[in-house]
């Protein structure tokens, strides 16, 4: 039993949400407690599996994985003929992050959001399935399929709760993502057309031995592919939909979406690392990603200063975090990849907490109180919460609600802008120290200084914009009601912030793990060997005792 579980561990992050989602569709809306319990059970199980994979990918469970990279063959066809799921340290970290976020946002949404529309719980599970699948898959076409699974679920979720603002923002979100999916398909088809393979490990081997004409087509395909990933990652100039789309989504949905931009970055990192040794094509190569990252950072910083509504401000924080990641990962070498991954963890947790927090903060305020009356007219802003004002929230209210909100707000600001003492600071500090080391090393020093300047200036813009908003929200006089907060809403936000504190407190071990994840990305040979050497699961001696 235990052995069978261990053998099938890599497929569980996909199988659990798939089955739970299907079951939730079948259970009627009447069984609310049962549905909630089942959803919670499923996300907790996913978290447990993700944590086990985290240890397994570090070689601590004694599973005898080749190079500590777990390969699962769902149809038991050997790679590259069948499809493969691959777990390495990076994938395990991302799985863990999505599971943690899944548990906490689900708890938050059970306060009332699950009843704001139909099929919230199944869609939530399918979103998790798509995310986990995209992190696990070892071939390009399944990457597309899982992207579509998570996008299809996200289309439903972004419209959850309905309302004119959501539908208008959702419309743009859907068009942009459909177009990006078509680009993804063209890139995949082009790459298949010249290399004859979709398996990433096989591709990494064959890409080096292409004839000149094929090589050009292949590079064009890879460039189109990376444009599609950059759209998903929210890179400038293809991110105009992001702030409005995320800002108008329901709070737990927006919190869950903060990891979706990171899926694009994960795909860029994964394919980039595999294709780099064979001379990565231009856009997976570093210079382009670096420049796009800088542009995204600049766009995010300007947007932060200009944004008036709290939701928009956080949306631009997500863009800044994407820009920081793209810039950092665009630096040559792997020295900065570990810190970048640390920043990814910290920024996803922080922005997710922020989205949930501002929904609670907004309850205390009358719409438009923080925006100049002129601006309201000029930009024709609508109240995004008209349809679901939460004045009627009932249940156990927590005491000292304003104190809690204020403290949580300050923590989020510290995390997002990277001020000490929380994990945002650790992340940015390690990126900056890596950049300084790189500037003294073999990197063009201009790039390193650009990176440092970009990160510091965007951080400053974040501090200015967020403290301005904070002053207006918490110290400004005017219409305000003391909010009633429920425990299930306060706990997830506190837990996310506590996790960030834990990240800062245990920065050493976490950074150690992430650095070894980065180093194994630098050895794509290991990945290729693990995938091609994956043993058939039916043979005795693998997973089961003979």
């Amino acid at each position: 039993m235990m052995n069978a579980l261990m053998m099938h561990l890599p497929v569980l992050p996909i199988a659990i949400p798939l089955m739970t989602g299907a079951a939730l569709l079948l259970i009627g809306d009447g069984h609310r407690i049962g549905r909630n319990a089942l959803s919670l059970l499923a996300v907790v199980a996913q978290l447990a599996v993700a944590v086990m994979l985290l240890f397994a990918a570090d070689g601590r469970l004694g599973l005898n994985w080749i190079h500590d990279i777990g390969v699962y063959l769902p149809g038991d066809w050997p790679a590259p003929f069948g499809i493969v799921l691959v777990v390495d340290r990076l994938a395990a970290v991302m799985l863990c992050l999505s599971a943690v976020l899944g548990v906490l946002t689900l708890v938050f949404s059970l306060a009332r959001w699950d009843r704001a529309g139909v099929h919230f719980l199944p869609l939530f599970q399918f979103l998790l399935m798509g995310l986990n699948g995209a992190f696990l898959t070892g071939d390009l076409f399944n990457l597309f399929v899982f992207f579509e699974v998570l996008l299809a679920a996200s289309y439903g979720l972004i419209l959850h709760g309905s309302g004119a603002t959501r539908v208008r923002a959702g419309l743009r979100y859907i068009v942009v993502n459909l177009l990006a999916s078509f680009l993804l398909l063209i890139g995949i088809a082009l790459i298949y057309g010249v290399t004859g393979t979709l398996n990433m490990a096989d591709l990494a081997m064959r890409a080096g031995s292409l004839a000149t004409g094929d090589r050009q087509l292949y590079e064009a395909g890879a460039a189109i592919l990376s444009v599609a990933f950059l759209v998903k990652a929210g890179a400038w100039p293809m991110n105009f939909w992001l702030a409005a789309g995320y800002g108008s989504a329901a709070a737990p949905v927006a919190a869950m979406f903060t990891i979706m931009t990171k899926v694009g970055i994960y795909a860029l990192l994964r394919l980039g690392s595999l294709l780099l040794p064979t001379g990565a094509p231009a856009a997976f190569g570093l210079e382009w990603m670096f420049m796009i990252g800088i542009a995204t950072l600049a766009f995010g910083a300007i947007g932060l200063m200009a944004a008036q509504q709290l939701e928009r401000v956080v949306g631009y924080c997500v863009i800044v975090s994407s820009g920081t990641l793209l810039t950092t990962l665009g630096m040559p070498g792997v020295a900065l990849t570990g810190p970048a991954l640390f920043y990814l963890l910290s920024s996803v947790l922080a922005t997710a907490a922020f989205y949930m927090l501002i929904e609670m903060v907004e309850r205390t305020r009358v719409f438009g109180a923080n925006v100049l009356a002129v601006t309201l007219d000029m930009f024709d802003l609508d109240d995004p919460h008209t349809e679901n004002r939460s004045d009627d929230v009932v249940g156990v209210a927590i005491p000292a609600a304003m104190a809690f909100l204020g403290l949580a707000f300050v923590s989020c600001v510290l995390l997002v802008t990277g001020l000490p003492p929380l994990s945002g600071f650790v992340a940015k500090f390690s990126i900056l120290s890596g950049a300084i080391a790189a500037a003294n090393g073999n990197t063009p020093p201009l790039d390193a200084w650009l990176l440092m300047g970009g990160i510091l200036i965007s951080g400053l813009a974040g501090v200015v914009a967020l403290s301005r908003t904070g002053v207006r929200v918490f110290w400004g006089s005017g219409d305000r009601t003391t909010p009633r907060l429920r425990l299930v809403e306060a706990v997830p936000v506190s837990a996310l912030i506590a996790l960030c504190i834990a990240l800062a407190a245990f920065a050493g071990p976490v950074m150690g793990y992430l650095t070894s994840a980065a180093q194994s990305l630098d050895r794509p040979k290991d990945y290729v060997e693990a995938v091609r050497g994956a043993p058939s699961q039916r043979l005795p001696g693998y997973g089961v005792q003979p």
């Binding site: 076409f141 959702g170 419309l171 859907i174 999916s181 078509f182 088809a189 082009l190 057309g193």
Partner: protein, 114 residues
């Protein structure tokens, strides 16, 4: 044949992109459909163009791989068609919802001021 296919893909993609940039939601959805046709044809074309070669192996005859078309792009294009169809259907619903909320079929949800 290659030229005809390439032209067809080009015309479909070009008209699709032009329609996508138009301000009415119906034009946008037609544009998306045309782009998806272009993409599907493109995927199909990536298996190379043959006539009279089946993708499924005939077990009764001696097997010569050169006599068969590449089945993988055909499988891929089926998946892509299904997914594209589903997402387009979903988009149609959103489009109708947007029309219902705003009373206009402009993508901005309001008519531009003249």
């Amino acid at each position: 044949m290659e030229l005809v296919l390439a032209l067809a893909i080009g015309v479909l993609a070009g008209s699709g992109i032009w329609l996508l940039l138009r301000p009415r939601t119906f034009q946008v959805i037609m544009g998306l459909s045309l782009v998806s046709y272009a993409v599907n044809l493109f995927i199909f074309g990536m298996g190379r163009l043959w006539t009279g070669r089946p993708p499924v192996i005939d077990a009764s005859a001696p097997i010569d791989a050169a006599q068969y078309a590449d089945p993988l792009p055909q499988a891929l294009v089926l998946t892509a068609i299904v997914i594209g169809f589903a997402t387009t259907a979903l988009f149609l619903v959103v489009l109708l919802a947007s029309r219902g909320f705003s009373g206009t079929d402009h993508v901005d949800g309001r008519e531009p001021e003249a």
